[in-house]
Each structure stands twice: as C-alpha cells, then as structure tokens.
Symmetry: C2
Subunit: 366 residues, 2 copies
Amino acid sequence: MSVTLKDVAQAARVSVSTASRALTGTGLTSERTQQRLTRIARQLGYRPNPIARGLKTGQSRLVALLVHNLTNASFQVMAEVVQARLKALGYQMLLCIGGDDPEQESDTLTTLVDHRIDGLIVVPTGKNGAQLKALAKDVPIVCLVRRDDATDLETVLADDPQGAYLGTRHLIELGHRRIGLIVGRQDTTSGRERLSGYVRALREAGIPVDDTLILAGHFVPETGATCCRTLLDLPRPPSAIFVANHEATLGALRVIAERNIAIPDDLSLLCYEDMPWFEWHRPAISIVDNGARDLANLAVDRLLQRMDAKGSGNDGVREYRVGARLIKRDSCRQINAAPPARSGKPRSSPSRSSASKLSASKSAKV
Amino acid sequence: MSVTLKDVAQAARVSVSTASRALTGTGLTSERTQQRLTRIARQLGYRPNPIARGLKTGQSRLVALLVHNLTNASFQVMAEVVQARLKALGYQMLLCIGGDDPEQESDTLTTLVDHRIDGLIVVPTGKNGAQLKALAKDVPIVCLVRRDDATDLETVLADDPQGAYLGTRHLIELGHRRIGLIVGRQDTTSGRERLSGYVRALREAGIPVDDTLILAGHFVPETGATCCRTLLDLPRPPSAIFVANHEATLGALRVIAERNIAIPDDLSLLCYEDMPWFEWHRPAISIVDNGARDLANLAVDRLLQRMDAKGSGNDGVREYRVGARLIKRDSCRQINAAPPARSGKPRSSPSRSSASKLSASKSAKV
DNA sequence: AGCGTTCCTGCAATCGTTTGCAGTCTATCG
DNA sequence: CGATAGACTGCAAACGATTGCAGGAACGCT
C-alpha cells in the first residue's frame, strides 16, 4: 500500500540500513548518499511508519492529556494549548476525558501506557496515587491543576490561595463584610486552598469567619444553585458571593436570575476562572483568573524537559505555581461608606503585569 | 521492562504462537490451555503491546477527530461524545484542532495517516478535498457538520436549511418583518444552507428579501460585533436579529450590551447552536439547536460501520441529516398585532419529539 | 490394523524500522 | 609499497506481536 523504507532502498540500490541511516540523518552516511536518498524518498513519497519505528525504539510520539471534561473553560484552553505546542514538535496529543472519576482515570491510565505514550499531563482525581507513582517510572508525568498527595510528581498548580485571597480582599475593600463563599470539594487541593485564601483575607481584615457563609460542593452547576439558595435564604444573607467553584457558577447565576436579584446592586458577585462569555455577560462578571493558558504552557515545558532528560533520576521534583490575577468588571460594587481603611500598606490595585508571576518552591520530598 | 507474550509463553511452557492464540481467543486452542494461559497472563500482569500488534495487523486502535477549535460549544460536546463512545469500544481518540486552516488541516491529515489511524471523523475546511479523497482509500472517513464538495465521502450534517427556516419562521410568527441575519461564510455548506432557510421562510411569508439585512462573515466574535453594528446603524434597523453564525454570537451580544439595547424589548435575538450559558443568560436566549450530541453519535455510528465493513467498496455513500430544533426561551418577543395569519395550515408549535428526526437521502454520486 | 479426520500445537516468516557488528574501499602515512 | 586508520556500507538480529503451514496425537471408521 504505502511506500516503505525497503522500496526507497531498492530504488536507490542501497541496503535498508543505509537508507535508514541516511534518512534519519545520523551522519553515518556520506553526504552524497544522504542527499540522494532524501531526494528519492521524497520522489517516492516515502513516509516513515511511526508504528514500526515505535516498536523498535519504544517511543510513540504520542503524548496524552487527561482532563475531567471539556465543559470547564480552563480545560478547553489547556487542551488547545497542549495540542498546539505538541503538534509543533511533531507529537500527537491523545486527549482523554476522565470525568473526575477515579475508576475511569485508572482505566485510561493503563490503556495510555499500553500505547507507550511518551509523556502524560494529567489532572489527577487524587485517588490513584499509587498507580500514577508506578507509571511515573516508565513515563514522564506532570500533574496539572491538582496535586495527587500520594505521589511526588512534578506538579503545576494555580496559585489558588493567592487567587482566593485577592478576590476576597477585593470584596472587602469594596466594603463587604458578609461574603458568601461557594467553593469546591475539600478533598481537592484547589478546594482547600481557595478556602484558605478566603479565610486569610477575612482574618487580615479582622472580620470573623462565619461558617454558615461557607459552602463546599461537587463540581457541577447544581452545587452552585443549591448553595446560592442556601446563602440567600440565610436570616442575614451575604452582600457579596464569591463563587470559587468554577462549575458552580452557572447554577448560581440561574438562581440569581430566578429571584430577580440585580447584580451588582442587590448583590455583588465574583467568580473564579475566566470563561469567554463572562466578559459579554451583562453585567460583565468580575473574576479571578487562574491563568489556564500559562498553566498549560508551563506544564508542557516541564513535561518536555523531563522527556528530554530521560533517565536522569527522579530528583529535582518541583512544584510550580502560576500566579492568579484579579480582573475587575462590573459585577461587584462598593457598599457602605469607605472600606475600613486598614493599617496595612494601602497597596494600589495589583499591577497588571502581562506575564503571570511564577514562584517555584523546591519540594524536598525523596 | 514490561512483560511480553514470550514471558507468558515461557511461564506456561508453550510456544508464543499458542500463547497468542489462546489470549486473543481465536478458538484454535484447547479450552484448557486457553484458561491456563489467561490465568498466567493475568498473574504476570501481561498487557499486549498495541504497537507490535499494530505493526503486524496494520491497525492502531486509534481514531482521530479533527475539529476547528474547542471554543465552539458544538465541538466540545462532539469531542466528549466521540471520546466516550470510542473508549467504550477500546479505541483511543486523537483529538486534533485544525483552526479551520486548510494548511494545518492538510498537515494534520498526513500525520494522522502516518500513525495508521483506524478511522477519522473530520470537520473539513473544504479546501483539501483531493487529499481527503485519496486518504479515504486507506482509512474510513466520515465528514461532520460540513461537506467537502470535492469528495464523495459519507457526511453527517445538521439540517441547517430546516433550522434556519424554523428560526426565521418563529420570528415571523412573532410579527417581525425586518429580520437581520448574521450568517457564516458563504463558501461553507452551513453558511449557504442557513441563508437559504432564512430566505425560504421569508418568501413563504411573502416578505421581500432585503439584502442589506443579510450579512455573512468569518467564524469569529468580531464578525458578530461588526455585523451587528451595521444592522443597528441601518436607516431602518431590524426588529429582530438572527445570529446564525455561532461564533459571532458573543460579538453581537457585546454590541447589544454596549448600546444598552434591551432584549427582547428593543430587539429580539435568536441564535444558532446551543451553549450551556445561553440558558443562564438573562434573558435566556432562544436558539435553534443543531443537535451536536446526535450529530456526533451518528458520525460515530457511521464510522464504526465503515470500519467493520472494511473493504466493501465505496458504494452506498450516504449523506445524513440530523434535524434541528427550535428552543424558545426569553430573547424573542411578539411585536405589532397578531402575526399575518397565513393561509397555510396553522401548524401548532413544532412537536417536542425527544429523538431528533433523521432523514437520510441517498447521494447518487459515483 | 490401517487410514483419514479432527484438534491442538510449534516452527518460522512477517510487519517496517533501527542498530551492533563486520566487511570493503580509499586515502594517508611511514 | 604495505600497513593502517577512517569512512561508508551491508548483513542480520532485534522489537512484540500475528499467522500460514505442517507435524503429532487421539479418535473413529472400515
């Protein structure tokens, strides 16, 4: 069917080995044959068979990206970024969707290594640490967005503590003192960290933390709806809601619409992670941007580095953080009088540095 | 590193061939050895190497999906559907993003067949017909959403003429007579067909077609913005706008927000293709649903069928249509008096049949 | 008992590459 | 002029599976 190396070799009246060496550019053939072979190969339309090559070399030129879904805007841009960068380097991306389900994740992982992928970027569920750890011996792995605590894998995280802190502080500065928080499950890194950032901002402002204002739940719109209702039905409802569980945002918006609550007049709303339509929504929704694009780029960088470094041990495993950014739009408003001018430095609004800030912290494990 | 068939064979004291036959279940081995072998294989943790197998059999268990982007909601659900269905059958999905760029498409296509994919679902740009046609000899291909006119490939399309007709008629029934249309490029199937549906609805209602109300453009938000502005700046602006270019929707919404135009009071708005947030947007946006989920499912069905049928010629190439559905929400309102009660049958609102209607039309080509 | 079937198994080739090893040829040097 | 290094090249063995062919055992039949 398709033209093989043998065909090229025959046409050039050389052996397959020579043809192989000439075309892969090992420098072990004479300049002349090399040029002649490349010419003939092109004429014949020869394309090396990656499967055969893979069998011999153990490499597939396939890199997998395992995310939870494609509904989450962050995952969308991550998939696009990873695909684009890998393609430029001659890799194909295997996109897998695990649905945040440990069983599916486990399944997928084994099929992926079966396929001898050259690398893996994974948003772990956190329940398959042992398996991931084992696979990491064979394949370079980078964790993205979430850490799997049972492993010591290289991990690229959003700076969720900072992001939640930034967002909460913003609301406080606008005069809000009762701030509802709808946050992700507390058995995930991001869930815990965002909560901690929220708490820190409140503490710093001397505002007591009211547990009835804090609701955590699964990553689905329904969470947003029920949590939002609960908050609004409180005897003393919050004046602002920080939806720090991205998937819950739609649900929260629905409840707000249902109840005819005006944003930002009746209620200030701040969300986490950007989505294209937040900007076109009316009013445009203020957000804390987790930097999905930068996260993906960094993950690819790290992965490529590990793939090049091949066998050079597991040492130097780091954890990376991509800084969060507050993007003010029109869904949060000033209330009351001036914000309780805190004694701290009256820092101007966070600098709009285009490049996101990176902070690498050596993780001393192993 | 990993355990091979040879290891299993040795452990069982049989030849590799027997091991292979036993484990692949060809029925050419005795019941006893088969069971023994499967047991031993499991104990040893044997996993067949798809690369080696692929080299011999010429199959990779890889199926590619080539779409333009992941921003478009339809492509998102298609990717999710295709991935889920294929995984259930033991295939891995290669997701490629071509950016609607012929050159990238061409590139990607060649690398994909290099990888010996077993099947391909592609949203064609329409500029690489010759290449697609050639590849179709080696690989089962199904076109999705768009037709490539230079080929005679099996194609799964949305029923765009019907969808645009339905949408336009809806607006007419609400009393609108000046209906702006923002539609996709006219060198694409969907672009032309949606325009034709719009025109048909107008004709049927006896409303003259005003060319100044019809704007076509590229699949980006900016198109929506500029087109929307143009329409609103008309001496006699439309009372309703039908945004039948999905990607343009965001741009249109922005302009509407900028100008403080109230939907649906000042202007009725109808969009094409569903997005999760259309429903949560305020007001909720009425749409014509193209049935992305059903499109993807049908495409997978067709592809699998072709993959099974293997060599059985190119005959019986069909074109499939997945019916569109009008979903009324809150962005269109009745204007004027009663709609000009047309003589035609006063059909009740389109039946809400859950299963989308399919109409297959034999394409007589070749 | 002899013979043909049926059933199971093993040998060895094959898929398209890569790669260690050994051989050939030329050129250079003593 | 002969030896030797160096530069290319070819042979053949991998990689891990599948598969046509043939051999051997067991069985039933005449």
